[in-house]
């Protein structure tokens, strides 16, 4: 396992001593308990989540070690995005809990950086690419304070790192799909998190962006960060990820890619045998909503 880095150390790898010291002083605002490295980066126990009363995830148990590049694989409607959102504590859980480094996730928000799907936002919104990346620093900036010169420097460095530094002043609708995705990645980098949750970062991007994202993921791993990446392209999945979570409403398998990326397990994830689970979920939803079948 790579050497464990200090909390609050610059995600962009360029933070001087002075910078990180100053940020630590201000960091009373962010909710971070000191990471306990004897615990898994992520631990999920008996996680069950429902959307509009319809169960979408049933009893998930998972433990992800630090420094892993994990692919989250499964068919449409398997609950991949739901898993990501519930790990961040954004959804009410029907049961179970999520811990990061041994602490409940609600106390660890600063440790988790999120890259949403690109289509979930309105790219006509009146902000520049730099404004969006700077949002990654908001968790570090107090409510009534303004982002400091340090925050802006970090945002700029993170943009350079993913190759969109020259686009800082562009309104975000004037960016290509790949550039928009990189802006989202830069925003997550600017958070200086230890765990990154990415929802379909490879969807609809050009080849250059795809290889830039891969290079970035490998670099994050070498820095001891943990990345969970929702991915739908089975062609590339085996090549990109150290380990995989095969998901279809329940956990089909989780383990090193060589162990779980097998025809049998993929068949169980994508094959027809699990449709009963989906039908059962539908029946539960109908019953809970009080409708007639």
């Amino acid at each position: 396992m790579p050497a464990v880095r200090e909390a609050g150390k610059d995600a962009c790898g360029t933070g001087g001593r002075k910078g990180s010291h100053r940020r630590e002083k201000r960091s009373t605002k962010i909710m971070i308990a000191e990471p306990r490295h004897d615990k898994p980066a992520l631990e999920i126990h008996d996680l069950t989540v429902s959307y509009h009363k319809k169960p979408v995830l049933w009893g998930i148990d998972l433990a992800v070690e630090e420094g892993q590049l994990v692919g989250v694989i499964g068919p449409n409607g398997a609950g991949k995005s739901t898993l990501i959102k519930s790990i961040m504590g954004l959804l009410p859980l029907s049961s179970g809990w999520v811990k990061a480094y041994g602490e409940p996730i609600e106390k660890q928000r600063g440790l988790v950086g999120y890259v949403p799907q690109r289509e979930t936002v309105d790219w006509e919104f009146p902000v520049t690419a730099f404004d969006v990346v700077l949002m990654g620093r908001y968790g570090h900036v107090g409510w009534l304070r303004r982002p400091s010169a340090d925050d802006k420097r970090i945002a700029r460095e993170c943009m350079d790192k993913v190759g969109v530094g020259s686009l800082a002043g562009r309104q975000i609708s004037n960016l290509s799909g790949g550039q928009q995705q990189r802006v989202f990645l830069a925003r997550a980098l600017a958070m200086e998190s230890r765990i990154y949750l990415m929802d379909e970062p490879f969807a609809g991007v050009d080849a250059a962006t795809e290889s830039a994202i891969i290079a970035l993921l490998k670099e994050l791993r070498s820095e001891g960060k943990t990345c969970l990446v929702v991915h739908h392209d089975l062609q590339t999945a085996a090549e990109y990820f150290d380990s995989m979570i095969l998901l279809n409403m329940h956990l089909v398998a989780h383990g090193p890619t060589s162990d779980v990326f097998t025809p049998e397990l993929l068949q169980r994830t994508y094959g027809g045998r699990l449709t009963i689970l989906a039908d059962a979920a539908e029946a539960v939803a109908v019953a809970r909503r009080g409708r007639k079948l």
Binding site: K85, M88, Y114, T120, D122, P126, T128, D131, M135, W143
Partner: protein, 456 residues
């Protein structure tokens, strides 16, 4: 019943010329006018600021339904107190606003009805109740002097000192809240899930925003009226949205346009006898929007059309350059050709070729002398660039993208006008400075200093 007709001008003077009225207006020695003007600017500011978030969050219809639905609240408050007490009316309006918001969200949540329909239901239902109550009140013994009808279309002259104080308080709260919560409001409006993931209390912010929205609407009611109040939220914000790409500037512009619309609307209502203030303010705001829609430097229809036309003209010029360059073949580049022969070879009319040739002459790319057309050195260089771009691109598509040589021409026809210096250099490097295109034609080598950025 024509509501809202007891208007400002009547109270100050009747039967005067427009100039007299203008003079009276700007003298500001009537207290109602001063109150009206201050109120108009205040409501323009608060509605303008909040309107930006309404527009960006796509809640425009919700604003409209809150506006309409406060009418029954006002009527009930009047029925209870029998006076037009500022605070009672305000409370009634706020309660109705909360009820309509609750109605919409519960109908959406507990049935299959979608939000737009729920909003439509709430808007018409509440407004209907409001009209019934209003008509009843006006038939009652104490009702005819109630002045409640002013709430339909607005009357800035009805703004009392108490109303003004309330409006000022609400505007101050809105301005301070938007300034302090600017970043939080921005990140939640742009990307709510991300905002929640960094610990922003998105529900609380939404509640704050909705509360301020209800307050701003109620504060604006007196001057604008329930029917049109949502326009003061939406129109200035939509106008500002067309003028800038930064949220901060959008907020500032929207507040400015809102205030200006309020003030000018008040002036119009005063000068044009018997027109209620609400419609005047909304018309002014709509006029601002129309101007921005047509003439905004970045998003305006006129600018965009102009840019498209300019680009089209440039392509026409460059195509003519290319045609002449091709016709010259091995002859000296400044050999004059007849316009009729160029037209005949390209299948164009002579009139068209002559017009484009004149345009070339204006840019110094060609000389036109009667029926003769000759390229200048600049024109020759540009023509060579276009031909080079075309052939380079064809070569790139066939070699690197494995597209058949007979499939690449149309694509190259478009790209030849767009390729910049940098891309051309990269193409040349990648293709190892080729001499021939896939059809065997020579790729010209224009000199280094001739890249003309005319009319780009």
């Amino acid at each position: 019943m024509i509501p809202g007709t007891g208007i400002l001008a009547d109270r100050v003077s009747s039967d005067a010329t427009i100039f007299d009225q203008l003079a009276t207006f700007f003298a500001f020695d009537h207290l109602t006018l001063v109150y009206g003007a201050i109120g108009a600017v205040l409501l323009g500011t608060s509605c303008g600021l909040l309107g930006c978030f309404v527009v960006l969050r796509r809640m425009s219809l919700l604003g409209d339904s809150i506006g309409h639905s406060v009418l029954p609240g006002i009527c009930v408050a009047f029925l209870i107190t029998h006076t037009k007490n500022t605070l009672a009316i305000f409370a009634g309006a706020v309660v109705a606003g909360v009820m309509v918001t609750g109605f919409i969200s519960s109908v959406t949540r507990y049935s299959r009805i979608k939000p737009d329909t729920a909003i439509g239901l709430a808007l018409s239902g509440f407004f209907g109740v409001g009209i019934v109550l209003l008509t009843r009140i006006q038939r009652m013994s104490f009702g005819d002097q109630s002045g409640l009808d002013k709430y339909m279309f607005g009357d800035a002259a009805a703004i009392s000192l108490g109303d003004l104080r309330l409006m000022a308080a609400i505007t101050v709260v809105v301005v301070i809240a938007v300034l302090l919560l600017f970043r939080q409001l921005m990140v939640t409006t742009f990307d709510e899930t991300f905002a929640a993931s960094i610990g922003t209390p998105v529900r609380l912010l939404q509640l704050i925003l909705m509360t301020m929205l209800a307050l701003a609407i109620v504060a604006a009611l007196q001057a604008v009226g329930v029917v049109l109040v949502s326009a003061m939220l939406i129109t200035p914000a939509a106008t500002a949205y067309l003028l800038t790409n930064r949220l901060g500037r959008m907020l500032f512009l929207s507040a400015l346009i809102g205030s200006a619309s309020g003030f000018i609307g008040l002036l119009l209502s005063f000068v044009l006898n018997r027109i209620p203030t609400g419609p005047c303010m909304v018309l002014t705001a709509s006029a601002f929007f129309t101007l921005a829609f047509l003439f905004s430097p970045t998003h305006g229809v006129v600018q965009r059309t102009l840019r498209r036309t300019r680009r089209k003209r440039r392509v026409q010029r460059e195509n003519l350059l290319k045609a002449v360059f091709g016709l010259l073949d091995e002859r000296p580049v400044d050999t004059p050709l007849s316009i009729s022969s160029v037209a005949a070879s390209g299948g164009e009319t002579q009139g068209y070729v002559r017009a484009v040739a004149r345009s070339l002459a204006r840019f110094g790319l060609a000389r036109v002398d009667g029926d003769k057309l000759a390229l200048t050195p600049d024109g020759t260089a540009r023509a060579a660039q276009i031909v080079r771009n075309h052939r380079l691109w064809e070569l790139y598509l066939t070699q690197e993208a494995s597209i058949a040589p007979d499939h690449v021409h149309r694509d190259a026809e478009e790209i030849e006008h767009i390729l910049g210096e940098e891309l051309v250099r990269r193409l040349e490097d990648m293709l190892d400075h080729p001499a021939q295109d896939p059809h065997g034609s020579k790729i010209p080598r224009p000199g280094g200093s001739v890249l003309l950025q005319e009319g780009a």
